[in-house]
Amino acid sequence: MKQLETLYREAGPALLAYFQRRPALNAVAEDLLQDTFVRAFKQLERLKTSASPRAYLFGIARHVGFDALRKNHRDEEFDEQAIITEERSNPRLELMRRAIAALPSAQREALELKLQHELTYEEIAGVLDIPIGTVRSRLHHAMLALREELNSSQPTKELYENRKS
């Protein structure tokens, strides 16, 4: 129990952020975090013996999120409004957010686990239950897609900047 409590303090904020970033789960993020730890308790032995307990918790959180979405009959959609209301000072950043949101969910998920939660390829493979090579290729495709999206949106960006000035 103490070990789980320590993990809650360490990985709790990241897991909470993981839920909060999903618009469909944002409202129940705290409940889902608690569910994640209750479920982790059920699999305490596996959690203890896992190579990365943090990654294991992310794996559980992912399933808890899926279950919640299924329960509410909701798809994980991207909430554009959430981005628009965020800081508008940097148009490139806004473009990047839009580009990330437009990525296929599998690529976005891998990118998020890497850049936001700083998991290793191996840990991401464990969370998503896919081979490491697939994680690598998803990330690469995501990065190349982002670059393409940013480069193609360059005129939009210039227009935005001109209008602002």
């Binding site: 990241a14 209750v38 308790f41 990330i100 850049l115 936001q116 690469h140 990065m143 190349l144 982002l146």
Partner: protein, 178 residues
């Protein structure tokens, strides 16, 4: 180096997944190739921007650890374990009982092959339906059995030959005397 390979290596390095030895080699390559170095800068900028775009911006106020829910879950798990054990035990008992009842059931009526005594044999035979006339004098016929029974010498304790149960040890002693 092919562009795809270079990009893959640059992305791996950007996310900190490239082995140090490979990173050193990549740096050497970039130092000697300005076009590749420009591409590396572009990808590095983009990774930085993506990282910034995905920066955590949540109200990460954690609720207290769900101790109560976990305690409740633990109790339920214990209950579930006990119920499962009880069910297993009940299944074993039921299986044992059914096997016992099955073996004790009078399912052998009418079967000659499994009779253990002549009396039971006669009872079984008489309980069986009448066979054809030709089988009455056959090898397995009741008449043949009756005839055989009459011919056979009954074994009793008053005759000339008496069966005595003796221990092999005492029998040995008897042999020695003779």
């Amino acid at each position: 180096m092919k562009t795809e390979n270079l990009e893959a290596l640059l992305i791996d390095r950007g996310v900190g997944e490239l082995a140090p030895a490979t990173a050193e080699l990549l740096d050497e390559y970039l130092a000697s190739n300005p076009a590749a170095a420009a591409k590396a800068r572009e990808l590095s900028d983009m990774l930085g921007l993506a990282g910034e775009a995905m920066r955590l911006s949540c109200s990460c106020e954690l609720q207290p650890f769900p101790r109560e829910a976990i305690t409740h879950e633990r109790r339920e798990m214990r209950w579930r374990g006990q119920i499962s054990q009880a069910l297993k035990l009940a299944a074993c008992v039921a299986l044992g009982l059914s096997i016992g009842l099955f073996s004790m059931s009078p399912r052998n009526v009418g079967s000659i092959a499994t009779v253990s005594s002549p009396r039971q044999y006669i009872q079984t035979i008489s309980a069986m339906p009448e066979k054809k006339a030709e089988s009455a004098s056959g090898f397995w016929s009741l008449a043949r059995f009756e005839a055989r029974k009459k011919v056979a010498t009954p074994i009793d304790s008053t005759g000339r030959y008496q069966l005595r149960l003796e221990l092999p040890l005492s029998l040995q002693k008897l042999e020695e005397k003779l």
